[in-house]
């Protein structure tokens, strides 16, 4: 296509129309998110689908979550050691890694990794079902796609994010511990007792609340983009990309607000 043809094919959209579309999208997303929760209290409940999704999302994401948090914990210990050694305070590496991983890095990294793997998977799966009319067929056969497809994915992601984060935190601490022990020559007992004793209720509570919010974001954003797919296979690709980008950005932005909110609530 010549450059002139390409430029003439670009459709300009008025700011008003653009704003309307964005507000409409936000409204549609809010309705889908609300329905996914409300459906928990309606029959039928697709327990088998939830368990299947837990397997796909939870066990499927386990290796990459564990690996990413493990190496981040190790890198955090290495970087901290450089700074802390200037003050002769390398003994507090355990505390630093522990707080950093449990309060922030564990949940956020797990969220981002699960978003990268599962928001895209959900968007592409549901998007393909849209373009091949399988969603219409499901409705025609008397089944609500939100109940059958969205709610099980939301429940499964929220539940599995919780456990993935706990395991990820442990691996992060282990990564930091191995670096502290083998590279920095720290006593393993010292590292682990520091890491353990520094954690208080508010740290653990914050670290375990975030994955619930992130899991909800990953699933609802993935399902929303999947079910909003338009335009055939090209549209499926677009939805997949947009779902990952939106879920990751939302996780990072919402993390700030959740952290601040929990700090106020917990007084920490």
């Amino acid at each position: 296509m010549a450059a002139g043809d390409f430029l003439s094919s670009i459709e300009l959209i008025s700011p008003t129309e653009f704003a309307k579309k964005k507000i409409q999208s936000l409204q549609d997303y809010s309705i889908l998110a609300a329905e996914s929760v409300v459906n928990l209290f309606r029959t039928p409940r697709y327990v088998a689908d939830m368990i299947q999704q837990m397997d796909l999302i939870g066990f499927g994401s386990l290796p990459i979550v564990l690996a990413s948090v493990f190496f981040t914990g190790a890198a955090l210990a290495l970087n901290s050691a450089t700074t802390l050694s200037r003050f002769g305070a390398t003994t507090v590496i355990g505390q630093l890694v522990s707080i950093g991983i449990v309060r922030e890095l564990g949940p956020v990294l797990a969220g981002l990794v699960v978003a990268g793997r599962n928001s895209s998977g959900m968007a592409s799966e549901l998007g393909s079902m849209i373009v091949t009319e399988q969603i219409d067929a499901m409705r025609a056969l008397g089944t609500d796609p939100l109940k059958k497809l969205v709610t099980p994915r939301v429940v499964a992601t929220v539940v599995m994010m919780f456990f993935l984060t706990i395991l990820g935190d442990l691996m992060g601490l282990l990564g930091g511990g191995l670096v502290a022990n083998f590279l920095l020559g720290m006593n393993a007992h010292e590292y682990w007792s520091n890491a353990w004793q520094t954690l208080v209720f508010s740290d653990v509570f914050m670290g375990l609340m975030k994955p619930l919010v992130f899991g909800f974001i990953v699933a609802t954003v993935g399902c929303y983009y999947g079910l909003s797919t338009k335009g055939g296979t090209q549209g499926v690709g677009r939805s997949t990309t947009e779902a990952v980008v939106a879920a990751m950005i939302l996780i990072i932005v919402v993390d700030v607000f959740v952290t601040r909110f929990l700090m106020v609530v917990l007084g920490s």
Binding site: E133, Q134, G142, T143, K148
Partner: protein, 282 residues
Amino acid sequence: MATPTLPIEAPLSTSQPPSGPVIVFEDVSIAFEENVVLDGISFTLPHGETKAIFGVAGAGKSTLLKMALGLLKPDSGHIYTLGEDVTQMTEDQLFELRRNVGIVFQESALFDSLTVRENVAFRLMEEGKTPAAEIERRVREALRFVELENTVDMFPAELSGGMRRRVAIARAIITQPETLLYDSPTGGLDPVTSTTIVELIIKQRDVSKTSSLLVTHRLQDAFIMANHYFDAKANQMKPVPPGGKIEAPLAFLILRDGKVIFDGNIDELAHTKDEYIREYIS
């Protein structure tokens, strides 16, 4: 001369057929963004009739079927399906109505992660009211109807295009609906397979006495339906003998630029003076 009685078995459905029209469109319009697809169309599908819907690509034929089932809401007008105004119904209310209306989608729309058995049984399994043995019996009965009982454990990806359409028909008829909607059931198929599909539609029409809307690009499909009946004893369709008449009337509906430009039977179609229609059917 008396009209010959055709050798057709009793319908599968035991419910009493309603006497009123099955589907009524009243001044229905729908647009997608700036593009007006259907503009104030009205027509009626009487009980027992098959209406073949024609129009160029993008004329709104598939949209029309989806609106009849409440899968899409029109911008204005009313649609009555089995006496219910689907434009005013909630999704939950529509789920109940859809039990009595089967649909065969353009590309079959089989669930690709489910086997043929699970696809055909989908509605019964979702309802959760039918015992497993009864579901299995009905699945096999529906698949036997489309002569694909041997594919019960296969996945849609393992089937040919024609076989997928036949499974889609089996899925649509498993609850013995009063009405069937066919969205280009022969689209993209070779002539032999297309004829097999048309024969199944005729079989369903004549054996089960269902009313139906048939969207198609192929005029010959409709002409075959108009001129053939299903002989249950011979288990094949046969041409209507000279002077004979099929029980289920066939009507034609032609769409152009969002409007209905023809709604009538095969004789009226053959004698139309409309230049566009004459060109279309030639």
